[in-house]
Amino acid sequence: MLATSSPLLSYAAPLPAEGVISERAIVIAAQGGSNDAFSALVRMHQRRAYAIVRAIVLSHEDTEDAVQEGFLHAHRALDRFRPDQPFGAWLYRIMANAALDLVRRRKVRLAEELSETVPMPFRDPAESGELRERLQQALTHLTDRQRAVIVMHDVEGFTHGEIGRTLGIPEGTARSDLHHARAALRRLLQNLRSTS
C-alpha cells in the first residue's frame, strides 16, 4: 500500500504495485506530480540514503535530519532529473551534499552525542565498551570526508568509484582518503589494540 499523506501533491496517475513497474516509470510518475510515486521512491532508497548520510554526520539524529532535507531537495529538483540516468546515484549525491551541509553547519559534534541504541556484538562488554568509546573519539579526529570514505567503504561496501561519484571527488582521492583514515585510526587506537 502506498502512502498518500500529502494533500498538496496531486495524484497524476494511479501507480501500479511496486515491483511490477521499473524505477524509471516510478521516477517519471513522481515527476508528473504523483505523491504515491514519490513515497515509493522514498521507501526504495531511504535505507541506502540513511547509510550514506550516517557515514558523513556524527549522530543518528543528524542523520534523520539530513535524510529528510536530502529528500526535500530531491523533490524540488525532481523536474531537472533526466530519467535515463540512474536515479540512485543522483539521489545519493544529493544526500551526501545535504549531510555535508549539515556537518558544516554544526561542524563539531562531541562523541558523547552518538546514539547509544546500537548494540555491540562483542563477547566482553568491558572491552567492547572501551573500544567503542575510543573508536568514537578517534573518528572525531578524522576529517569529515575521511570518515565518510572509511564508513562507506568498510561498513557499507561502496567501491572507490561509487564513493567518488557520491561525494563528488575523484576515485584516487577516495583511495587516498581511505588510506589516511585507516592510518589515523591505527595510530589513534594503537594503545588500546596492543593491550587487548
Binding site: A3, S5, S6, P7, L8, L9, N35, F38, S39, V42, R43, Q46, R47, Y50, A51, R54, A55, E64, V67, Q68, E69, F71, L72, H75, R76, L114, T117, V118, P119, M120, P121, F122, S128, L131, R132, L135, Q136, L139, I150, V151, D154, V155, E156, R175, L178, H179, R182, A183, L185, R186, L189, R193, S196
Partner: protein
Amino acid sequence: MTQDRWTSGDADLTNALRALYAAPVEENYWEALEARIIAHVARADERTVWWAELAEMARPGLVAAAALILAASLALVHSRQLEVRSAYAGVISPAAPSVEPAARAASVGDGDAAIHFLISR
C-alpha cells in the same frame, strides 16, 4: 602489511565500525521515517504555496498603494498651485481699506476739532 589494507587483526575495528554505524533494523522505524520524510516535504510545499498566495495577494495591494500615492501626490501639487495663485492674486489686486486706519483717521479728526474748539474760545 601495507598501510591501506585492513589485516585480520583489524577485524575487531571493522566490526566496531559496523556496529557503530548500523542502521536500525525494525521495519516500524523505516515506516515512521518514510512518513516523516513525506510530511517534511508536504510542509515545505505548504510554505511554498502560502508564500506564492501571499505574493499574489500582495500584487493588487501594491498596485492600489501605488495608485493611492499617485493620487495623493497629485492632490498635493494641485493644492500648492492653488496657494500660489491665491498669493499672487493677493499681491496684484487693490487692497480693501482696513478698519484700523479709518478709525485712526476718525480719532485724529476729533482731536483736530477739539483743538479748533479751544483755539476759537
